[in-house]
Symmetry: C2
Subunit: 496 residues, 2 copies
C-alpha cells in the first residue's frame, strides 16, 4: 500500500469519525437545547446523517482501501487494529439490507411512540403489536448478522463484541444463584441501620457547583468537555476532544445529581482517556459497552459508596447547604446512601439488586427472540420472574415490563452490558486497591491516583485490545463474578 493510499484511507476514516461526531452533537442538542417544535425535523436530520455515514462506510472505494491496507505491510502499528475494526463495521453495515434498515427504523419509531402512550396509560395492549413487529425485525436483523446458529449472539455482539451466550450464561447463573438468597437479609439490615437524609431545599446552583468541582477533582478536562442538564443523564462524544455529560438536579435530593456525576464522569474520563496517538483513528473508542459501563460503575459504586469518599466530601456538602447536614458524619451518611430495597424498578435499584433486574430482562429477551415467549405473555412472565428473583411483584405493566425504553428502541442484547460492567468494575477496584491505599487517598480528597490507574490500565488502550484482554491484563482474570460478591459483602458487612 502506497503512502498516498494510506493517507486516503486515514482521510476517509477521519470523515467517518466527523460524521459520528456530527450525529453525536445533533443527538446531544436534541436532549439539551433543542426547541420543542423542532423535534420531528431533528429526527429527519439525524436520519440523513446516518444515511450519509452508511454510504461512506459501505462504499466500494473504502472497502478497496481497507483490503489493500490489510494486504500490505505497514510501519504504522495502529493500522492492523484499525483495519480489523473497519472490517467489522463494514461487515455489520453491509450485512443489513437497506429495506431492513428502513423497516427497522420505522418500526422503532412506531414502537417508541406506542411505548410512551402505553406507559402513560398503563396499557400494555397498545404497545404489544408494535413490539411484536419490532421483535420480528430484531430477529431478522440477528439472522442477517449471525455467524453462528445462536441468534442471540448476533445481538449481544453488537454491544459486546466477541461475547457469546455460551460464555455469558454461566456467569449470569452464578450471579442469580448467589444474589437471590442474599438480598432479603441485606435489605433488612441496611434499612434498619439507615436514616433518611434531612428534608430540605438543596439549592440547584449549589448542587451544580458541587458536581462540577467533583468532575474537576476526578480529572475531567473541561477544556475538552461540558456538563449540562437533560431529562435522563448521559455521556456523548461530539468529537474526540469534545465529551459532553449531562445530569439532572432535584432540589429535594442532592444524591441524584451527585451520583449521576460520578456515573457519567466515569464514562467521560474513559472517553477523554484514550492515548493521544489514537486521536482521529477508529481505535479512539471503547471496545464494548460493558467495559464502558465498568467505568461509570467504578466511580458510582466503588468510589461514591465508600465511607472514605464522604470523609472528604461530606464537609463540602455541609458547606454548600448550610445547617442542613449538621451533625452528620461520613459513617451516618454512607449508611443513608447504601440501602438495599426489594423494588420493582431497575433505575432506582441499589448496587445489590441491580444485577437481578438485568438477569430478569436477559431471560425474557432471550425467550422473546427464540420465540419461546409470546408478546402477549410478556407482562405475566415479567411479574412471575420478578417475584422469583426480587421477591416483589409489579402491580401493573407500567411498573413491570413497560418501565424501560430499551426494547421499544429495538435494543435487544444490550441489558447484559450493564451486568458485565458491574462485574468488571468490581474486578478493577479489587486490583486497584491491592497496590493503592484507596481509602486513604479518598479521605484526603485525592482522586488523581485512581484516575491515573484507570487511564493506564483501561482508558489508554482504546480499541487496541478487546474488553476481555484489557480486564485480563489489568486484573489477571477475564469476566469473573467473585470480586463483585466480595466487594458487595465487604461494603454491607460494615453495616451492622
Amino acid at each position: 500500500m502506497s503512502l498516498d493510499e494510506l493517507q486516503t484511507l486515514r482521510a476517509r476514516i477521519r470523515e467517518l469519525r466527523h460524521l459520528d461526531a456530527a450525529i453525536g452533537l445533533l443527538s446531544w442538542d436534541e436532549e439539551t437545547y433543542l426547541p420543542d417544535g423542532a423535534r420531528r425535523e431533528r429526527g429527519e436530520q439525524l436520519a440523513t446523517l446516518e444515511g450519509v455515514r452508511h454510504r461512506v462506510l459501505c462504499s466500494d472505494a473504502f472497502g478497496d482501501l481497507a483490503e489493500s491496507a490489510a494486504l500490505a505491510a505497514s510501519d504504522d502499528p495502529l493500522v492492523p487494529g484499525e483495519i480489523e475494526r473497519l472490517r467489522r463495521l463494514r461487515r455489520i453495515a453491509l450485512a443489513l439490507p437497506d429495506d431492513l434498515v428502513r423497516a427497522f427504523a420505522e418500526a422503532r419509531s412506531r414502537a417508541l411512540a406506542a411505548w410512551e402512550r402505553a406507559r402513560r396509560d398503563d396499557d400494555f395492549d397498545c404497545f404489544a403489536p408494535a413490539l411484536a413487529e419490532l421483535v420480528r425485525l430484531v430477529r431478522e436483523r440477528a439472522q442477517a448478522l449471525a455467524r453462528s446458529c445462536e441468534l442471540y449472539d448476533a445481538l449481544l455482539d453488537e454491544y459486546e463484541p466477541g461475547m457469546t451466550r455460551a460464555r455469558l450464561e454461566p456467569v449470569l447463573d452464578i450471579v442469580g444463584a448467589r444474589l437471590v438468597p442474599l438480598i432479603g437479609d441485606l435489605a433488612a439490615r441496611t434499612q434498619a441501620a439507615a436514616e433518611p437524609l434531612p428534608v430540605a431545599r438543596y439549592g440547584d446552583a449549589a448542587q451544580v457547583e458541587l458536581c462540577r468541582q467533583l468532575l474537576v477533582d476526578m480529572g475531567f478536562d473541561f477544556a475538552r468537555g461540558r456538563l449540562d442538564r437533560s431529562t435522563h443523564p448521559f455521556t456523548l462524544m461530539a468529537g474526540g476532544s469534545d465529551i459532553r455529560l449531562t445530569i439532572r438536579v432535584f432540589e429535594d435530593n442532592p444524591l441524584s445529581a451527585l451520583f449521576a456525576t460520578l456515573h457519567e464522569g466515569g464514562h467521560g474520563l474513559y472517553d477523554q482517556g484514550f492515548a493521544p496517538e489514537l486521536d482521529g483513528t477508529l481505535l479512539a473508542d471503547a471496545p464494548g459497552m460493558g467495559i464502558h459501563e465498568s467505568q461509570s460503575r467504578f466511580w458510582e459504586n466503588h468510589v461514591g459508596r465508600r465511607e472514605s469518599f464522604w470523609v472528604y466530601r461530606l464537609p463540602l456538602l455541609q458547606a454548600a447547604f448550610p445547617g442542613v447536614l449538621d451533625g452528620w458524619t461520613a459513617e451516618r451518611f454512607v449508611r443513608a446512601i447504601n440501602v438495599v430495597r426489594l423494588g420493582v424498578n431497575r433505575v432506582e435499584a441499589d448496587e445489590a439488586t441491580y444485577n437481578l433486574h438485568i438477569l430478569l430482562r436477559y431471560r425474557l429477551e432471550l425467550a422473546l427472540v427464540s420465540g419461546a415467549l409470546s408478546i402477549a405473555d410478556l407482562p405475566g412472565a415479567w411479574n412471575e420472574l420478578s417475584e422469583q428473583l426480587l421477591g416483589v411483584r409489579p402491580r401493573n405493566a407500567r411498573e413491570g415490563c413497560l418501565q424501560d425504553v430499551h426494547w421499544a428502541l429495538g435494543a435487544v442484547g444490550y441489558f447484559p452490558s450493564y451486568l458485565i460492567g458491574n462485574l468488571y468494575a468490581a474486578q478493577l477496584v479489587e486490583t486497584h486497591t491491592d497496590g493503592h491505599d484507596l481509602d486513604g487517598a479518598l479521605a484526603r480528597g485525592d482522586l488523581a491516583p485512581t484516575t491515573a490507574w484507570l487511564r493506564r490500565h483501561v482508558h489508554a488502550h482504546g480499541h487496541r485490545r478487546s474488553a476481555d484482554e484489557i480486564v485480563t491484563s489489568a486484573t489477571g482474570r477475564g469476566l469473573d463474578p467473585e470480586p463483585f460478591f466480595r466487594t458487595l459483602l465487604r461494603r454491607f458487612d460494615a453495616v451492622r
Copy 2:
C-alpha cells in the same frame, strides 16, 4: 417526470437542507457552547460536512433529476422555482474547481489567523501577504464564476443574486453625495441634545428577561427557536423549525443587548416567516443578504429608534432596573440613543454614518479586485477615504483597515448588502406607515401588526421572488435611496 422521480428529487433536496442544518448547528455550537479545546476538531468536522454537501449537490444523479424535472410539466407550483435555485447552487458549486476550493479554504484560514495577530499587534504587514494571496484567489474565484466581464459582479452575485455594479453604483454615489455634507450638522445637533444614560449596574438576568420578552412581543416563536449568548450576536438556522439567535450582555450598558435583540430578532422573524408550504424546499430562504438585512435594520432602526417604541418600553426598563432611570421620559431616552458621531468604527456607527463606512469598503474592495489598489497601499487609501467620507482619520491600521473580519474570510462583495438592507428597510417602513399608525401601535406595545405586515409582504415569499421583486411589489419601487433620507431626516429633525 414521474411522481417517483419528483419524490426522489424532493428527498435529495431535503437531504441537502438537512446537511445545511447540521452545518448550521455545528457552527452555532462553535460560537456558544463548544469547549475551547475542541476548536480545531470542530473546524475539521465542518469541512467534512461541507465536503459531503458539495458532493451531494454536484452529483450527476442530482443534476439529471433537476434537468428532467425542468423539462417536465408539473402540477406542483413550487417546482420551477426550486429547479431554478438548484441550478444556480449547482452552477456555482460546479464552476469552482476542487483545487481552488481547497486553496481558498486554506488561504482563508491563514488569513484569519494573520488578521487576528495583525489586529492584536496593530501590525498590518503581518496580514499583508496572507491578504494578498487571498485576494488573488478571490479574483480566481470571480473569474470562475463570472458571467460578464465585470469580475466584481460575480462576487456581488453570491450575496445579492442578480445585483450588478452597474445598478448598484449610481445608488451608492447618491448615498455618498448626500450623506457627506449632512453628517457634520447631524453630529453637532444630536450630541448637543443628548445626555448619556445613567452609569449603573444593569443586571444581566434582568437584561436577558427584557430581551426575551421583546422577542415574544415581536412574535418570535420560542417553540421553533432559541436565544443564547455569544461574543458576536448572530442568527442561524439549525433547521426550518429551529432558528437560533444570540446576543451579548454588558452590565454597564443595556442598549447593546436590546438593540442586538431587535436586530437579530428581525433576522429571526424572517427565517420563521416563510410560508408553511415552503417547508423543506429550497424556497424556504431569503433571496439575498440585503433583504435579510432589511429586516434586522427595520426593527433596529425604524422601530427601536422611534420615540413611540420607548413610550411603552421605557417603563419596562425602569421596572427592571429600579431607581436607575427615574425621571427619564421616552423623549429624553430616544435623544440619548439617537446620537450621530463621526467615528472610525463601522460596528459602533450610528444610523446616519453607517452607510459611509460601507461606501468606503465598497470602493476599496473594488479597487483591490481590479488591481487598481495594491495591498501595500490599502492602509493609506483607507485612511484617506475615511477622512473624505467621514471626516475622521484612523490613528492606526487597527482602527482602520484591520477593524473588520470580512476580507480575512475572503468575503469580498458582502459589504454592499448592509447598505442595500438599510435602503430596503427605509422603503418598507415608509410603505408600512402609509396604511398603519405605527407610532400609535408602538406606544401601546403592539408589535403584532408590524410583524404581520412584514410576514405578508416580505417573509412569506421565501425564495419564490427575487429581493427586487419583493421590494418592488411591497413598496412600488426597486432599490431607492430616497426613503432612507426622508426617514433619517424626519428622525433627526425632531432633535432640535
